[in-house]
Structures are given as structure tokens and as C-alpha cells.
Symmetry: C2
Subunit: 348 residues, 2 copies
């Protein structure tokens, strides 16, 4: 089969690799129909994270089950499924607590399973899915029009939802979203779906601002750093917001998140922290907490599939570039050069 | 009147100072019946926090209202009241969100009010209470037997309750309490009152362990650091606890808190952070959050008064030394030398 392999920073290739085979009775083989490129893939692509050897790549995909192991009970050949960006058994204590992203036996696509076997990346024609019952969720009847939105549920939409859930967004809240990437935009969708009364988005990009407004943003703050923080405080009569969705992960974005939170608010964070030092003294004196982390997408899938299939949310709009899998290198380049918010790959 | 003044590390004196007078129409004058010494007072007493000039001292007291300003509506002379360790207007946005400890116009006893006027400390015969309506809560009919427990509501019991509330302790949870001081012990009471199924207390002090068990602790871990963390993980089948109450505030206690939390748990923290660096990478990968800070005791007072007066909780047991106000120096020394968990001062 054809699959994406990252060889070195900037060097992403579609290559011929062996077709996956069932390795355990809990496995499934999924024929990928659509995949996409994640902002977090760019850390490797840009050389910010180390590439020790060529890596099978991609962790967001949807597709059709081709084959299942003898012990698989919840999916069967022909099912149209969504794979979260982490696989999980859905039975260990962490999973039972709703944190499948911290599963005792789980892992991420393109690395290894709990038994040390290689696992395929998601940007390829087929994927061996370990722990199929605990990982895959059937997405209903296949509907091509819904595919982009369902594809976002594998990561960015589930991650934005986790930010809003962790920040405890509730009816009528004034919410700020720090970050206007695909996850931040999905955070806007999530805040709106949870009934936020006002959604302030920090963005200086015209395309993204437009989409944020379409998704429910009520206020846009283009300034960053202290100037941006003052602007948000001004918008909230000096009080700060009820909930902050931190969707970037840098030291500056985190500082901004705490600076604009009202006393007692929670910063829901999903941007992988890079150079973040939490301001513990400020947090203590203001009672602003922080919650979040690697999103347990598996937990949210049933609810989010229902929101997509009923037409209540349409996160697929974050894809502003669609390419065939053969052009995966361009899909990366376009995101790296900020020509695209998020690239969708047509696989099969 | 007589009031406590801290002059220098180890030098605490009862002195003759001017009787307080109403300064604004929102003030009340309270005749203190009982006060106590806080673990946090010891930072100054031990020279860990700076003393720039002699400081009126103490921030925990109960007493009887003597006089009120013209605009005071909720308390009247003769009322038996509890004063939280911070005063607050109870009307600003922070207060309305339930975080009276971050009140826009509030402050702490012994310092200044929002207008810059000196405020009395709590370890004295009388206290001018700014913003009386927003600060004081009537504790029902005066009952001498309940006074010690009601006195704890001014700080330690409300603070332990805040740890448990921030950590989201709920029915059936397995909870760990890091710290066996008065606040940690009140954390045990709080976890038990919130229906925790199991309460693990980290303590190596026989007296405190005994009291912790009386308050509802089911397991005691004497070891500290990595050894203590392993012991807690062993007690929880390697999973970690559902909620952690961090009641110390040091780097080691915070590291322990995160090390023993299960994926998705929350560390509720109320120990003023000293040398704490939050482990953001570990927090992100395990989805363990943190919430808490300076306890909004004012919010909790009505519920906690009801728990005390109905006999459901008896936090007054944390006082293992009772002295007249004239012996305030010994009250400090006994706590400093760990001869007492918490000292109660009989004032009037």
C-alpha cells in the first residue's frame, strides 16, 4: 500500500510499504477514505521535534473496516468508522474515568502498540488498528458530504471540545479562545454548542477571523501580549472571562490565558506545552485553575458524531485545502507556509 | 484595648492599642470572643516572610457585634458572628462568582482596607470590620460548646473545604490528603462530608494520625517523597486517587500530589505555594488539573455553619491548646515548636 513517511524535516514522502495484517484477535484493518494533516505534525516537519529514523506519519483518519480479529465485537467489515488520534482499550481505569488518551495499553498512530509491534500512520491507504473495540467508533451510514466534519472528530474537533469541557464552559458564559488554528476554531464551535453567551477570539488572520465568526465568535481581538490582554479585559468591564480555551501551547499564549481569566475561572488547555511555566503565585491569588491535556477524543465521539450528523455543527469547514494522498508533500507545505488552515487528504 | 503585634521574628507581643472606631457607614465593630493562630502566621513568626514594621496580627476570630455603621443591614449589635480571614464586599464580580477572597475591595486583617485605612488584626479584643454586610455571617445563637468549631470556619475548615471543593471530591471517591496540619485535617473532614469512599492521609505524626482517623481517614501513609507516592499507588492498585487535597504548599508536596493523582484527576490546592514549579508536561500527558488558591471562606460559611450546628462535623478538635489572650506568645511558640497542632486564644 501507499503510506506517508517522514524522513527528515521538510522531507515527507508517499511510499510503498507492506499491507498491514491482523496481528492480534483484537485488531481491525481499516481502509482509509480520508485523512488530514495536524498542526502537531508540523513540529516534526519543521524540525522542532526529533526524527530519529523515518516515521510512518499522520494520526487523523476515517474509513471503512475491511477485516476484524476473532475477538472484535463492536465493529464489523463494511462499517464506516472514526479513529481517535490515540488508540485505547476503553476498559482500563484511565479509560473508565473517561481519559482514553492516557490508556494503560494505548498509543498513537505511527509508533508502537503495547506489545511493541509497529503501528501504521494514519496518512496511508490502510491502517492496522490495535484494540479495535476500544478505539473505533461507527459513524453511522456513510455520507460523503459529512466526511470532512466527521474527519475532524478524530482530533481537532475533539480537542477543541476537550478545551471547552476542561474550561467548564456553560450556558451564558463569556469565553475567550486563545489561538485561531483548527483547534482554536473548533474551540469556538464547542463554546457555542455549550451555550456560551459571548465568545472572544484572539486572531489577526482575516480568513480565520471570518471562519471564527461563522462558528459563533462575537468579538475578535487582534492584538497580542499585554495589549491583547488589556483589550479582553476592556471587553469584559475589567473582570476577565468565565472560561479560557488555550489552544496554542506557548509561554506567551498561556500567560495571556491566565491574564484574561476572571477570579475562579478555569483555563482549559490543549495546545502541547512548549516553554510554558505556569504562574503559580498568580493562580493562587486569583483562584484560576487549569485543566486539560491530551484530549480523550474517544469519550467525546458519540456525542460529537450526533452533533455532526444532525447538522448542529459543521467543523469540516476548517479544511481549506483538499488534495489527493499523492500530494501529501504539498498538503504539509501549504500548512507550514500558512497557505492553509488545515489540509484534507483524499485517500480512497 | 489589648491586641497582638508582631515586632520581629519570634517577637510577638500583646499591647495596648487604641480602641477601634467606626470609620465608614459600612463598618461594624466586633468584640472578639475567640481567636486563634494560623500556620500561615508562622511564616512571619519564623522570619520566612518579611516584617517591615510592627504588624497588628491574626486573621481568625469570632465574636459579638458591638456597633454598626448606618448602612449595615445584615448584622446588628448583639449578633454572634464569624469573620472570614478576608473581608469582602460580596457584590463585586469576583464575589458574585463565589470568590470573595479575590474581592475588588477586600483585604486581610491587620493590613489596610480599600481606602487605605488601617485594619485591626484578629488576635485582639476588638476589630473594626470594613464592609460588614459583605464580610460577617451570623452564626446563630451563641453556644459556648460550638465556639471552637465555629472559629475554625473563619479559615482552616473553610480552607480544607475549598481544597475538597476545588478537587471536585464526590460520592465514593478515593481521596488523598497531602498534609496533616489543621488545614489537612479539615480537608479530611471535608472529604468525608462530601461522601469520599476512601481517604488516604499522608502523615507521620501520631497525634495527627489519630485525629485524621477520627475525622474519617481510612488509610495512613507515613512515608514521604517517592516512597510515599509508591505507597499511595500501591493502595490504589497502581491507578492513583480520584482527587488530591494539597494542603502544604511546598515543591515536594506538590510533586507528590501530581504523582498520586489518577489520569483526569484534579489537585485541589490551598497551601500557599513556596518554591512550587508545576510539572506542566506531566500534567498535559496525564490530564491532571489543578484548582484552588486563597479560600473564599465567605461563600462556604452558611453551609459549614449548618454542618457544625447540626453536629455533622466537629472541626474544633484541631485545637489542642487553649490559652488566654495574655499568653499569645506561648500560643505561637507551641505551634512553632510543633507542640500544638493549633492554638486557640480565649479573648473575651
Amino acid at each position: 500500500m501507499k503510506a506517508t513517511v517522514l524522513h527528515a524535516p521538510g522531507d515527507v514522502r508517499l511510499e510503498e510499504v507492506p499491507d498491514p495484517q491482523l496481528a492480534t484477535a483484537q485488531d481491525a484493518i481499516v481502509r482509509v477514505t480520508k485523512a488530514c494533516v495536524c498542526g502537531s505534525d508540523l513540529w516534526y516537519y519543521r524540525g522542532d521535534s526529533p526524527i530519529k529514523k523515518p516515521m510512518p506519519f499522520g494520526h487523523e483518519f476515517i474509513g471503512v473496516v475491511e477485516e476484524v480479529g476473532d475477538e472484535v465485537r463492536t465493529v464489523r467489515p463494511g462499517d464506516f468508522v472514526i479513529a481517535p488520534f490515540t488508540f485505547s482499550d476503553n476498559t482500563c481505569p484511565a479509560c473508565r474515568s473517561g481519559f482514553q488518551s492516557v490508556c494503560d495499553h494505548g498509543g498513537v498512530w505511527g509508533r508502537k502498540d503495547a506489545d511493541g509491534r509497529a503501528v501504521d500512520g494514519g496518512q496511508g491507504e490502510y491502517v492496522r488498528v490495535p484494540l479495535a473495540d476500544g478505539t473505533l467508533v461507527v459513524a453511522g451510514e456513510h455520507d460523503a458530504a459529512l466526511e470532512p466534519s466527521l474527519l475532524t472528530l478524530s482530533d481537532v474537533m475533539g480537542t477543541g471540545w476537550h478545551a471547552a469541557t476542561s474550561a467548564k464552559v456553560s450556558e451564558g458564559d463569556t469565553v475567550a479562545v486563545v489561538g485561531d488554528g483548527a483547534v482554536g476554531l473548533c474551540g469556538v464551535i464547542s463554546a457555542a454548542a455549550k451555550g456560551a453567551g459571548r465568545i472572544i477570539v484572539m486572531s489577526r488572520n482575516a480568513e480565520r477571523t471570518k471562519l471564527a465568526k461563522e462558528f459563533g465568535a462575537t468579538d475578535i481581538v487582534a492584538a497580542r501580549g499585554e495589549e491583547g490582554e488589556s483589550a479582553v479585559r476592556e471587553l469584559t468591564d475589567g473582570v476577565g472571562v468565565d472560561a479560557v480555551l488555550e489552544c496554542v501551547g506557548t509561554g506567551q499564549s498561556m500567560n495571556t490565558a491566565f491574564a484574561i481569566a476572571r477570579p475562579g475561572a478555569t483555563v482549559g488547555y490543549v495546545g502541547v506545552p512548549h516553554g510554558v511555566e505556569l504562574p503559580i503565585g498568580q493562580m493562587f491569588s486569583t483562584n484560576v485553575g487549569i485543566a486539560g491535556g491530551v484530549a480523550p477524543v474517544r469519550r467525546y465521539l458519540p456525542d460529537l458524531i450526533a452533533l455532526v450528523t444532525s447538522g448542529q455543527i459543521n467543523p469540516g469547514k476548517v479544511f481549506d485545502l483538499t488534495l489527493p494522498l499523492t500530494q501529501v508533500a504539498e498538503a504539509y507545505a501549504a500548512m507550514d507556509e500558512r497557505r492553509a488552515i488545515k489540509s484534507l487528504l483524499e485517500v480512497g
